[in-house]
Structures are given as structure tokens and as C-alpha cells.
């Protein structure tokens, strides 16, 4: 389980490509494709470099007109989904 203070980054064994503005990932570790929605795609591109959850939320909050706590909650949900599917590494 990932929380606000963790630093995370994209895993190395993942290749990605953009399809209709959304990112598709392929993981060599579990031989699967993942289609990300718009929000998850945005978070995925932020994770190219290691980032604290708090930093991700701040970036999203500054770009979109959203409620901070809702943004934080949904970001945590998405990064935990990434983590469950072995798409990101905890640093």
C-alpha cells in the first residue's frame, strides 16, 4: 500500500505508447497490456522521474480545477493500482 510520503517511479521493464491521447502500457514482467484512462495517463507521464505522491497531487491540482483532497484520494487510488500491477517501483 502506497501512502502520501512514498517516492515512486515507472518500472524499467515497461514500454508505453500513446493511443487516441491515452497511454497503453506493456509489461514484460507479467506479459500484459494496460490501457490507461486520461487521468492515469497523466499520472504515468509525471512518473517518468521519481516523484513523491504529494508532488504528483500538487502538479495535478495546479493544472486542473479540482478539490485537493479528492485529487489526493484518486491519485492514491491510481498509483496503488499501478503498484498492484507491478508497473511502478517504490524508492
Amino acid at each position: 500500500m502506497i501512502n502520501q510520503n512514498d517516492i515512486i517511479v515507472q518500472k524499467k521493464n515497461i514500454v508505453s505508447s500513446s493511443l487516441d491521447g491515452e497511454i497503453v502500457l506493456m509489461s514484460l514482467d507479467n506479459s500484459s497490456y494496460y490501457g490507461l484512462n486520461y487521468t492515469a495517463s497523466k499520472i504515468w507521464s509525471i512518473l517518468e522521474n521519481p516523484k513523491k505522491i504529494e508532488e504528483i497531487v500538487k502538479i495535478l491540482f495546479s493544472e486542473y480545477n479540482v478539490d485537493y483532497s479528492l485529487c489526493e484520494k484518486e491519485t492514491l487510488q491510481i498509483v496503488n493500482d499501478f503498484y498492484k500491477n507491478s508497473l511502478i517501483d517504490l524508492i
Partner: protein, 143 residues
């Protein structure tokens, strides 16, 4: 039904040339090996077996090669195998047979979104620069 299939295939096998027989046996062995890899192992354990991962090669010099015999061997092998093989398995077998004959080729993994916005994955091999990547978005490739 199965017995009939075995008899028909055996008769067909005796009628093809020795070269075609050897290629069919080669294709069958490659299918067995590849099905084992694809069904059992994650891609990270066999991506080096497929080829050079994420490395492109030029396919310009391929016009003079005849690869019909390779295609025939794979078609025959697929008739013998009792279940439908996945596009990834077919593509890997084709790539290995083309590699052995020094025919340059690239194996692609791609996806497209169907009418219900869900992802459909596909694998294919290119031996010339014509591609079906208009429909599919290429995610990974092997040379």
C-alpha cells in the same frame, strides 16, 4: 474424427518432398517450444529468445527472397496442432524460421481500440516495409 485426421495428415505427409518434411518438423518443434514459453513464462524470460528487443532493422533488401516454403510449413504445422495457436506464437515461429534463413524481418506487438473502447492486442511479422500499423498502434518490436 481424430483418427481420420491422423490418417489424412499421414498420407499428406508422405506425399511432400523431403525438404518440405524437414521444414514441417522444424516448424512443429518451434511451435512446441514457443507454446511452452508463451503459456508458462512471462515475456521477460523469453524476450531475448524472440530477437533484439526494441531494436529496428532495415527491411529494404528483402525483395529477392522466397519465403513461400516457410509459410507452407507453418500452415501445415498449424493443421497438425490440435488447438488454435495465438498470433504471438505464430509470429515467433515465423520469425525464428525466417531468421534461420537469413531473411530480415521484424516482429511487432501492437494494440487497437475496438468499437467498445476495449484494447485488442495483436502480434505480426513484417518482411518488407509495408505494414498494417495503420490499424494497430505499435507498442514493442523485435528485430
Amino acid at each position: 474424427m481424430l483418427l481420420k485426421k491422423v490418417i489424412v495428415n499421414t498420407i499428406k505427409f508422405t506425399r511432400i518432398s523431403i525438404n518440405e518434411k524437414l521444414m514441417l518438423i522444424e516448424a512443429l518443434f518451434l511451435f512446441l517450444k514457443t507454446i511452452f514459453f508463451v503459456k508458462i513464462l512471462p515475456l521477460k524470460y523469453y524476450h531475448n529468445y524472440i530477437g533484439n528487443y526494441m531494436k529496428e532493422m532495415s527491411l529494404d533488401e528483402n525483395s529477392n527472397y522466397n519465403y513461400d516454403d516457410v509459410i507452407s510449413a507453418i500452415r501445415r504445422a498449424k493443421l497438425i496442432i490440435p488447438f488454435r495457436t495465438k498470433c504471438l506464437v505464430n509470429s515467433i515461429v515465423l520469425k525464428k524460421m525466417l531468421d534461420k534463413r537469413s531473411i530480415k524481418n521484424m516482429l511487432y506487438l501492437g494494440v487497437y481500440k475496438n468499437n467498445y473502447s476495449s484494447l485488442n492486442a495483436h502480434a505480426w511479422v513484417n518482411i518488407n516495409n509495408k505494414s498494417n500499423s495503420d490499424k494497430y498502434k505499435i507498442i514493442a518490436y523485435f528485430s
